[in-house]
C-alpha cells in the first residue's frame, strides 16, 4: 500500500547496485496529478546533505512531480561532485518525466562521505528502469518502501482514509533518530485537494507531535526529510482540521514503527511528563530523561532507577519544586514527593516501558519515545560504519 494508496501516484523499488547485499536501493514516487502540491520538513542540522540542500530549494515553490530516494549512500559531505550528482539525478528524472528538474526532490540515506562515481553512475543508469517500473499498484508502493531500508528490519508504511480521500506513507530510519528529525526519510501522499500552504501547516503540526518526539539516541542526522505530496486526484477539497488529524495519525503510526525498529533496542520506552507548566516544558523534561545514557542503561538492566530520572529532570529549566517530583515505572510509584515510595521490585518489565513523571507545576503533558542503551546498540554502531 503505502504511497500508492491514494489515487494519482506511481512508485517503484529497483536495484541500482549501491548496496553490497544486492537488495533494492532506488525508489521513485511520481505524482501524476492533476495537482502537484508539496510540503516538506528537513533536518535542523546545519550540516545538511546534498539532497537536502537540493530539495529545500526545489520544494520551496510548493510544487513537485516526483521524489527519487536511494539507500546505500548519504551523499553528504561529498564536495561539489556530490551536489552535482543530486542535480543530475533530478535533471535526468525530469527529462524522463517531461517536467522541470526543480519539480524533482531527491533523498539519500547511508554512509556520510559516500558519493563518488561508484555512487553516481548506478543511480543515473538505473533511473529509466525505475521510472518504467513505477506503477499504481499496492505491490509497487511496498517495493518503494523496501528500497529505502538501510538497517531497518521491516518496511514501514501507514494509511488513513478521509472523507472521499486517502493518505498513504512510507518511512525508513533506525538510528540517529532525534529532534529536528533523524536519518529518517518519509514520503506521504494524498489524493485530497490541499494547496501547498495548507499542506505545510498540516505537516508541521503533525511532525511536531510525532517524528520530532522520537529521540532514540540523541543524534541528529544530516539527511532527514519528510515530504507530503498531494495529487488532488480525488477532486475532493479536504477539510484542513480532518486532514491534519489524519496526517498526524499516519505520522504517529510511522513514528511508532520507527520506534519499535530502533537499532539495537531491547525496550521501547515512553517517557510521559505530566503536570508541566507548558507543553514545551513537558517535552523538555521527557527529552532530557530520554537522553540519559545512565537511565537508558538502567532500563536495559530492567532496573527502575528513578534516581537517574530525577537527576535528569534537574538539568532542565522547567518549572518544578525539586522536592515534589513523582516518578512511576510501568505504573508503580517508585518515587513520590521526591522520596522513595513503592518497592522498585514491584515493577514488572516487558518490551514496553512507560515512565511517568509528575512535576505538579501545571496542566500540560507530553511524551517522548526512546530506546534503552544495549550491547546490541554498541555493537551495531561500533562494528559497522553508518
Amino acid at each position: 500500500m503505502s504511497v500508492t494508496y491514494p489515487r494519482g501516484f506511481r512508485a517503484s523499488g529497483t536495484t541500482a547496485g549501491l548496496k553490497p547485499s544486492g537488495k533494492t536501493d532506488l525508489a521513485v514516487v511520481v505524482n501524476d496529478g492533476p495537482a502537484d502540491a508539496v510540503a516538506a520538513v528537513y533536518t535542523a542540522n546545519r550540516c545538511k546533505a546534498n539532497p537536502v540542500l537540493w530539495s529545500q530549494q526545489a520544494s520551496a515553490d510548493g510544487t513537485a512531480r516526483a521524489v527519487v530516494l536511494n539507500s546505500g549512500g548519504a551523499n553528504c559531505y561529498t564536495g561539489d561532485y556530490g551536489y552535482e550528482t543530486t542535480e543530475l539525478t533530478a535533471t535526468r528524472t525530469a527529462e524522463l518525466l517531461g517536467t522541470d528538474a526543480s519539480d524533482v526532490l531527491v533523498c539519500s540515506t547511508g554512509l556520510i562521505g559516500v558519493g563518488g562515481p561508484e555512487f553516481r553512475e548506478p543511480i543515473l543508469d538505473t533511473l529509466p528502469a525505475a521510472l518504467e517500473a513505477a506503477a499504481e499498484t499496492p505491490e509497487a508502493g511496498a517495493a518503494a518502501a523496501e528500497a529505502i531500508m538501510t538497517t531497518d528490519t521491516v518496511a514501514k508504511t501507514a494509511t488513513r482514509e478521509g472523507t472521499a480521500y486517502r493518505i498513504g506513507g512510507m518511512a525508513k530510519g533506525a538510528g540517529m533518530l532525534a529532534p529536528g528529525l533523524a536519518t529518517m526519510l518519509v514520503v506521504i501522499t494524498t489524493d485530497a485537494v490541499v494547496e501547498s500552504g495548507d499542506l505545510d501547516i498540516a505537516l508541521r503540526a503533525a511532525t511536531q507531535k510525532t517524528f520530532d518526539r522520537l529521540d532514540t539516541d540523541g543524534c541528529m542526522s544530516t539527511n532527514d526529510t519528510v515530504i507530503v505530496m498531494s495529487s488532488g486526484a480525488s477532486e475532493h477539497q479536504a477539510d484542513l482540521v480532518e486532514f491534519t488529524r489524519l496526517l498526524t495519525e499516519v505520522c504517529g503510526e510511522l513514528t511508532a514503527q520507527l520506534h519499535t525498529d530502533a537499532e539495537g533496542a531491547g525496550h521501547d520506552i515512553t517517557i510521559t511528563t505530566r503536570g508541566a507548566f507548558s507543553e514545551q516544558q513537558a517535552v523538555d523534561v521527557s527529552r532530557a530523561v530520554a537522553r540519559s545514557n545512565l537511565f537508558k542503561a538502567a532500563v536495559f538492566g530492567e532496573d527502575p532507577n528513578w534516581g537517574r530520572v530525577v537527576a535528569q529532570v534537574g538539568t532542565t529549566d522547567a518549572e518544578f519544586d525539586p522536592q515534589a517530583i513523582d516518578v512511576t515505572f510501568n505504573g508503580v510509584p517508585v518515587c513520590v514527593g521526591s522520596a522513595p515510595a513503592a518497592d522498585p521490585a514491584e515493577v514488572l518489565f516487558d518490551r514496553r516501558v512507560v515512565v511517568e513523571i509528575d512535576l505538579h507545576a501545571g496542566n500540560f503533558e507530553a511524551s517522548v519515545w526512546t530506546s534503552d542503551l544495549t550491547h546490541d546498540y554498541v555493537e551495531e554502531n561500533s562494528a559497522y560504519s553508518s
Copy 2:
C-alpha cells in the same frame, strides 16, 4: 599525600560499614588553621542532594573547619530524614571538634534514594573514631582519598608546590561526569594565605577549564562538589596569579585521572575544536561531539567516522561554514573542507584518541574530554544500580 600535603590539615579514612564490600567509606579532612577560608562549587543540577543543600549554606560565609565525606550512599531524595542526617553529621562533627556545625561541610556519594537509618547510624557512630584517626601524615591523606572511592579503580590525588606554600587534592568519580560537574567529589587543601573571595575566584577559574570540560557520559550528578580550603599555615600570602595557575594544574591533573578511570571506558578521547569564533563556541562544538553516542560507539570500534563528527558540529549554534570543516583523527586529516581526504585506514588507534576539528571561523580553541561507548559501560550501568 593528597590533602595532607599542605601544613595545617589532618585527614583519615575509616570504615562505617556503608559498603557491602567492607572497604573504607568515611573520610574527614580537618583544617587546623590558623585560617579557615573555604570556597566551593556545586553541581548545577537543580535536583541537589541533601549534603549539597547543606554545604552550599555552610560554605556561603567563606569559612569551614572540616569536610566529612562518605561513599556508600548519595543521601539524595531521601526526604526530611535524609536532610536531618546531613545536619546531624555536621553537628556531631562540630561537637567533637569544638566548632560550629555551620563550619562543617558534608559530601556523600553512592546510590540516590539511600539515606535511611541503616545509612545514618553507621556514619554518626563512626565519627568519633574517624576524627580520632585524623592525622597529618601522607598515609592519612591517602586513606581519605581511598575512602571516597565508589566505582573508581584507583584513588586520585595531586599536589603542587608554590612559593613557600603547597596545594594538595583528592578526587573521586567515574560515572556521571558532565558539565557543571558530576558524581565527582573533590577536596583541595592549601597552606597558602588566601582569603575566601580570592579562593573562590581561583577555584572558578580552575574548574571552568578542567572539571567542567570532562564529559564522560553527558549525565550531570546531584552530588558534585569541589571544595578548596586554606589553612594559612605557611603564613605566606600567595600571589593570586601563581596560586590560580597551580590550582588549575592540580584540578587538571585530577581531571585527567578521572578521565582515565571513567566507567567502562576503552578509549580516552580528547576533542579539540580550533579556529572557533570564541572559546565558548569551541567548548560547545567539542561538547556536542563528546555527547554523540554514535561517535562514541565508532571510537570503541576504532572507526574514524568523521561523518558522525560533522553531523554533531551541525547541531550547534557556533559560527562556521558548513562547507569548510576539517577533521583529523590522531593527526590524520580524514576530512578537509567538509569532504573526504586522507584514507581513514591510515588512522592508528590506541588508548588515547585525539579528534581535532577546525572551524576556520576564528582564533579560539578548547578541548573536552570524553570516553567511548563500550559494552563495559552498558554492563556497569545496567547490571548494577548506582
